[in-house]
């Protein structure tokens, strides 16, 4: 028999207890609902949430606050350290979890070809018209599939090499320095290359003058060029190589410790060292051209707020928010108007970029026959 039946049968004590419990339960439920309503009301009353998977600097408090206040949105940011991880995650269902991803440029076509992302409404973005012409070209070219653009560039950087100016004098800046050294300086065993098949092999290809390999949508080395690249890297390993470095931290540790005097490096890495007062390290931009990366935002087809997501993307390249992102990440924005919001020193480091300098940029691209590159790289490492 239930307690309700007891009450109906006229047990006053039981009824009294029931009523008091019911009252407490009801009060508790109402109170909980009211609190939930109040708490949820803030979000439910018009501040939607946009979920983003991107690099660490985008999650810094200043950057996040700048976007949230400008767009009136809550950002939930998941940090990632790899474009490949972003892509594979979205492939396995995370496109429903995230509204925006910010992979490197060469991954945007993969997202598009896999049918994961929305076309970019470039005409609706207020800050897009202000970005460097070079990046508009990239948007129409590398970020497009069948004539439709799917990504919006945010910030960029490029690779060259850094050197310890206390041991290596000024010289003609060329990739050949990593492979043949500098006249009058003993660099045997004092050069570091990235432990990455794409970065190391493209440096070798540029050193060997294989510019034609970089002209299409993909980096394409013929079989004989691939053999030459392999031979150059094996020779370099036997004479000039100190170590293959895993990333920026390895470069900083190695060059400070004196393990090498010249090392393959991105500009952002050296900027970090300059900001920390290590003015003795210098950046060389090779005459043959620099491999460069830029991050491009894409919006998921599964997003419930695609228009708002594109507003968020647009805000990342706004003059003020773009400058904040540049300050936090030490990498320049694709919007030159950000330089007005940076100090003279910061502009020198990562703000104002001469557009002519962008002409030497060779954007990261997918590799034709990547398996052959990887095999060659393993052969180099085991040589």
């Amino acid at each position: 028999m239930s307690s309700r039946d007891d009450t109906v049968n006229g047990d006053d004590t039981a009824r009294g207890t029931f009523d008091r419990r019911s009252f407490l339960a009801a009060t508790g439920t109402v109170a909980t609902s009211a609190i939930a309503g109040c708490v949820g009301g803030g979000g439910g009353s018009g501040t939607p949430t946009i979920n983003i998977i991107t690099w660490e600097h985008y999650a810094r408090d200043d950057v996040q606050a700048a976007v949230e206040s400008a767009v009136d949105v809550n950002l939930e940011i998941t940090k990632s350290t790899s474009s490949a991880d972003m892509f594979s995650g979205w492939q396995s269902g995370q496109d429903e979890q995230y509204d925006i991803a910010v992979p490197n440029n060469n991954y945007v076509p993969r997202f598009a070809e896999a049918g994961l992302v929305e076309p970019a409404p470039l005409d609706d973005l207020t800050n897009y018209p202000d970005i460097y012409e070079k990046f508009k070209d990239f948007t129409d070219g590398q970020l497009a599939v069948d004539g439709t653009s799917y990504g919006v560039p945010i910030r960029f950087g490029f690779y060259g090499y850094g050197y310890d100016s206390r041991d290596v004098p000024d010289h003609e800046e060329s990739w050949s320095v990593l492979f043949e050294g500098v006249d009058g300086v003993d660099l045997q065993g004092k050069v570091a290359l990235y432990d990455n098949h794409f970065k190391a092999m493209t440096a070798a290809a540029l050193h060997l003058g294989f510019h034609d390999a970089f002209e299409g949508d993909r980096v394409t080395l013929s079989q004989s060029q691939l053999e030459d690249v392999k031979a150059a890297l094996i020779d370099q390993k036997k004479s000039y190589l100190s170590s293959y470095i895993a990333g920026d931290a390895s470069f900083v540790k190695g060059i400070k410790k004196g393990d090498f005097h010249v090392g393959h490096s991105g500009r952002m890495n050296l900027t970090n060292m300059w900001v920390d007062g290590n003015d003795w390290v210098k950046m060389a931009t090779p005459k043959e051209g620099s491999m460069s990366w830029f991050e491009a935002a894409v919006v998921s087809k599964q997003s419930e707020h695609p228009d708002l997501a594109w507003e968020v993307v647009d805000e990342y390249i706004a003059p003020k928010t773009g400058a904040t992102l540049a300050r936090e990440g030490h990498a320049p924005s694709v919007n030159p108007k950000t330089s007005a919001n940076l100090s003279e020193r910061r502009n020198e480091l990562y703000g104002s970029i001469d557009p002519s300098r962008l002409d030497g940029m060779i954007p990261f691209k997918a590799v034709e026959n990547e398996d052959a590159w990887r095999s060659a790289w393993e052969e180099i490492k085991t040589a």
């Binding site: 892509f87 594979s88 492939q91 004092k190 470095i245 895993a246 393990d259 490492k381």
Partner: protein, 308 residues
Amino acid sequence: MADADATATERSRKGLFDRLIASRRVRLAALLAPSGGLLAALLLAPLSFMVAVSFARVDSAYEIIWQPSAANYAALFDGTPFWTTPFVQSLSLSVVVATATTVVCLVAAYPVAYALARRERGRRIVVFLVLLPFFTMYLVRVYSWYLLFGDGGVLNDVAAVLGFGPVGAFDFGVPAIVVGLAHAQFPYMLLTLYAGIDAVDFDLVDAARDLGASRIEVFRDVLWPLTLPNVVAGSLFVFVPALGAFVAPQFLSGSTVLMVGQLIAGRVDSYNIASASAAATFVVVFVAVAFAVAVRYADMGVSAGGER
């Protein structure tokens, strides 16, 4: 009546339980179930997945295509001659490094284990000191070796100050890897050897000495055979992790060499998991065969006490 039924049911249940408990097989099964379940979930399941993936392929969108083929295994040896392929080269280097590490550990640990077994004094302190590195993270230990080695490392700086540096052996490379791995694996060898030597009946040693055997002959004919199972066990504890190491080689060679663990990790990093799985499966089989051969050769049935 209801109470009587309940009592009868209870008795029947108790009887069934007692019969089950009385069965040796059931007791053994109950005892092994938790560890068996754990092994199945954490070892057999991933291992089975790895073997299955090694026969699949991965497309450019990183999706696994389940079309069974031995192509990934063939690719491991696809070279002319086959031993020039990166996989065989890296596996060979790993065997050399793991063997060198094992020999270094054995040579360094045997005398210490002997001393620990023979002398009570200071035993606890030595064992504590040996285990002390375990209280720090493996990565931290490897990083400390990274700071010591290299052209700009502490060892070469000291050598330079003393007037005979820089020394090539202190650069990043195979010697540095062996030192780093030996440091990490040394306690496993020491403790395994200590357990074996401590169980030796030293009356046999004394008897051999009384009969005129030299110290070397006593070691060769008495001590070594009695502790051989522990030598083999300790060697396996050192050899197997050293064979698959990739953190220490990455740091301490400056990535200038490619051991098989690095090769597999690199393939996983580039989402080439089918090829990585084939390489890993081959290494597992290789180690299992080596283990079986070692056990057979060392006649593991003979304990340090001479009992079979």
